[in-house]
């Protein structure tokens, strides 16, 4: 096989170094002050945080599973009217950053805070992941196997438990683990709803004292928790790849009298996950429209867009380089680098932000408080997304084309730029756009690392909510959903696939 182009190797290795240095630095510094760190962790407060975090992760995972499975089952496997509409309803919370969702609730019910509030908001925010995974799996279940089950004497419930569920279980488990990771690293919504978990405690410790040992040691506990779930997740990811049966038949259970109650239930989920909070924000925006500082809004939108565009370019360059390396020239070093970069996919943004603050202040003061440190944070956080999104279109280019091009006299490099990249470009551009939209919504790392004086939509929204000024926060939240959330939802490949499959008859 052809050797990978030098540039891809250089960029890949550089990205890998960037990816490990900050966290490594955090560990080293803590190891030096191990006594202070362990004293910090031995406080009863740590156990309280741990139990709060675990409680929230477990309860949200369970309820998101229940909500997502219910939505998927009714949309895919029953004669529900307008299944396509309810598929949209089930995925729309993906377009709303969870801190915006939380803000919507708080703005209606000022008392809305603590465990139950966080539980509700995060359940609604994460149920779409379960819905997408489970409905994809349900669409691939072989109906003929279910019929065989019934011919062998099983009731409908037994068929579901013994034949359908085992085929869906793997996808559902993977989705639940994804949800757990989401909840573990969630910062904005939990902080807004004032429930003490690790992420909120890390931020408060960082803000309130000059001794950063506390924040750093809590961050490491959070990383350890994350690691546990990542290891679990690895066991379930792609356990067996289910093929769609050659002749997929849809068997839809007749809802009969249940049609109305089921419709109401699904509508209720939609109301809780998007309708109610978004209506509240819309209302606040209208009420406060005279007070809205359009100049501020415009400036924040502009700087958000600028930062996100720059980040998308940076992340895409590295993601494309590493993807070319591992997809077209797979070798051991490439696979190692890819694994290393991918291992960051679950790293909570608050931890990355904190580690880079330390690293920037102590080791690289010349980029501290500059846009470039923020870019490094985005690179660490979103390179895994970029890799996943960019390797697919590259892998889909038929293998023989480069060889044909070379046999027609083009150099390898020319074949790459004239054949492979043009063919893959729609997918690559979509991937870059997705990275940009994801960056727009990022809060914790932006909060810690933005250059002094720079305000984005997310940080403006954050400071307004800290002052309980909902009317001020609402327009920022709305703009964020409109320019980042909805386009990201429209670009999301698994969302599009689900809509298409649910609507095909």
């Amino acid at each position: 096989m052809q050797k990978p182009p030098v540039l891809t190797v250089v960029l890949g290795v550089f990205a890998a170094l960037l990816a490990i240095v900050p966290l490594g630095y955090l560990v080293l510094r803590l190891a030096e002050g191990i006594e202070a760190a362990s004293a910090e962790l031995a406080r009863p407060r740590t156990f309280e945080l741990l139990s709060n975090t675990v409680l929230l992760v477990v309860s949200v995972s369970l309820t998101a599973l229940v909500v997502g499975v219910i939505q998927a089952w009714f949309v895919v496997r029953t004669n529900l009217s307008y299944p396509g509409f309810y598929a949209v309803v089930a995925t729309v919370p993906l377009a709303i950053p969870s801190y915006v969702l939380a803000l919507g609730y708080v703005s209606i019910f000022p008392w809305f805070s603590g465990f139950w509030a966080s539980w509700l908001v995060l359940t609604m925010a994460t149920a779409p992941y379960v819905f997408l995974a489970v409905s994809a799996a349900l669409l691939r279940v072989d109906i003929a196997a279910e019929e065989v089950g019934r011919s062998l004497g099983l009731s409908r419930l037994q068929v579901f438990l013994k034949i359908t569920w085992p085929q869906v279980r793997t996808s559902a488990t993977a989705a639940v683990l994804l949800v757990s990771l989401y909840v573990l690293s969630e910062f904005g919504a939990i902080a807004l709803l004032r429930f003490d978990t690790f992420t909120r405690a890390i931020y408060n410790a960082y803000r309130s004292s000059f001794d950063r040992t506390a924040a750093a040691s809590l961050a490491l506990v959070l990383v350890a928790l994350t690691l546990v779930i990542v290891l679990l997740e690895r066991r379930y990811r792609g356990d067996y790849l289910m093929q769609r049966p050659a002749n997929p038949r849809r068997l839809k259970q007749d809802l009969g009298k249940l049609q109305t109650p089921v419709t109401l239930l699904l509508a209720l989920f939609g109301l809780l996950g998007a309708g109610l909070p978004m209506a509240a924000l819309l209302n606040w925006t209208m009420i406060g429209s005279s007070a809205t500082d359009l100049g501020k809004l415009f400036a924040a939108t502009l700087s958000s867009a600028g930062i996100a565009l720059l980040a998308a370019i940076v992340v895409s360059i590295f993601a494309l380089a590493v993807s070319i390396w591992v997809v077209l020239h797979k070798n051991k070093l490439g696979s190692f680098i890819e694994g290393l970069l991918w291992s960051n996919h679950a790293l909570p943004a608050i931890v990355v932000g904190l580690a880079l603050v330390f690293f920037g202040a102590n080791v690289t003061p010349w980029i501290y408080q500059s846009i470039w440190l923020l870019m490094i944070a985005y690179l660490i956080l979103f390179l895994p997304n970029g890799l996943a999104a960019m390797s697919t279109p590259l892998a889909q280019v038929p293998k023989g084309l480069t060889e044909v091009s070379q046999s027609l006299g083009q150099s390898y490099r020319k074949s790459l730029t004239k054949v492979i990249l043009p063919i893959a470009s729609p997918g690559l551009i979509a991937a870059a756009a997705l990275v940009m939209l994801t960056v727009l919504k990022e809060l914790p790392a932006t909060l810690l690392l933005r250059p002094t004086g720079v305000e984005t939509l997310a940080t403006r929204l954050w400071s307004a909510t800290e002052e309980l000024a909902y009317a001020q926060a609402a327009p920022f939240a709305l703009v964020l959903v409109i320019i980042a959330g909805l386009p990201a939802l429209a670009l999301n490949a698994s969302v599009r696939k689900t809509y298409a499959e649910v609507n095909e008859e």
Partner: protein
């Protein structure tokens, strides 16, 4: 009394496709093939028998009980085995658990599974997952799974469709052997006439939602009920003819009709392509204009003064292109009067 009796089954299965008054009986220990092209309603008929759908009209009696009509017995209560098109093994279970699925509470479960594994000649593969089996193995496991609870009837839905020709032949024999060893009745749905003729005790021909003819393979092949079946089942050459003096006068001479004929009637005779005999004859009035050689036989295209016919001829002795021949028709033919 028959094991299964369908009477006047009507079912609209969408897009204008309808089963129109199907009546059919299946006896104990009998293998019946339902033969029809795609869209004829074969699979719908099977699903009605299995209990996955209710007929619009008509009655199904199985094993002495009405299962559809006055009352309805759902699939899980009927104890009718099914083998779907591509096997549809449970992907999360191994071979052993797939076969044992329907007999979980049977105290003799293990010995029954072993017995079936032996019958399908897959001993030693108990632990394999469906993904690790070949197409033929999948189908045999699916058959064993259906047979495990000892149903009186199994339904086979195009079970050999996805397999290549050689494997299909082998599996056909296996299925016949296994079904007879178990002493179970079976209904096989297929669009492959060779499969229906070679495997079944009786064949029912389904066309446009109706059963056109039921009979043993020999009956159906030798006396097709109409021109459609004559051309669908095997190759037939159709020639105009008129009944004169008890025989059918055609361009190939006076032929004896197998069926009752009325003097003066005009119609069409269907001649099986293997029933032509081509006699090399330098002064013959017909000429070989085409020849496709298959080894064991050959299809020879012959131009007579008035007709072009395709004859199947013993391979090694098939006449070459350009040879003059005389065309003879062996045996009696079927005559279909014009309506």
């Amino acid at each position: 009394m028959s094991l299964l009796a369908l009477t006047g089954i009507t079912k609209n299965f969408g897009e204008g496709n309808v089963l129109k008054g199907i009546s059919l009986e299946v006896q104990e220990d009998e293998l019946v093939a339902i033969l029809g092209s795609s869209g004829a309603g074969k699979s719908t008929l099977l699903r009605l028998i299995a209990g996955f759908e209710k007929p619009d009209q008509g009655e199904i009696v199985f094993d002495g009980n009405v299962v559809a009509g006055e009352s309805f017995l759902p699939a899980e209560k009927r104890k009718i085995g099914i083998v779907p098109q591509d096997g549809a093994l449970f992907p999360h279970l191994n071979v052993y658990d797939n076969i044992g699925f329907g007999i979980a509470k049977d105290p003799n479960k293990d010995s029954r599974i072993q017995q079936l594994l032996k019958l399908i000649e897959l001993e030693g593969l108990e632990k394999r997952k469906p993904q690790e089996l070949s197409g033929g193995q999948l189908q045999r496991v699916a058959l064993a799974r259906a047979l495990a609870p000892k149903p009186k009837l199994v339904l086979l839905d195009e079970p050999f469709g996805a397999l290549d020709a050689e494997l299909r032949d082998r599996l056909r024999n296996d299925v016949r052997r296994i079904i007879h060893a178990e002493g179970v009745s079976a209904i096989l749905v297929t669009h492959d006439q060779e499969e229906a003729l070679s495997l079944a005790d009786r064949v029912a021909v389904l066309r446009e939602g109706r059963i056109i003819q039921v009979g043993t393979p020999t009956e159906i092949y030798n006396s097709p009920a109409d021109i459609g079946i004559a051309t669908f089942l095997g190759e037939s050459v159709l020639i105009d003819g008129k009944v004169t003096e008890g025989k059918v006068a055609t361009d190939l001479g006076k032929l004896t009709a197998l069926n009752q004929v009325v003097e003066g009637q005009s119609g069409v005779v269907a001649i099986r392509s293997e029933n032509f005999y081509l006699q090399p004859n330098q002064t013959g009035d017909s000429e070989v204009v085409g020849r496709v050689f298959f080894g064991h036989d050959a299809v020879v295209e012959v131009q007579t003064p008035t007709l072009k016919i395709k004859a199947r001829s013993n391979g090694p002795f098939a006449p070459e292109v350009g040879m003059k021949v005389t065309v003879w028709v062996r045996g009696a033919v079927n005559f279909y009067p014009t309506k």
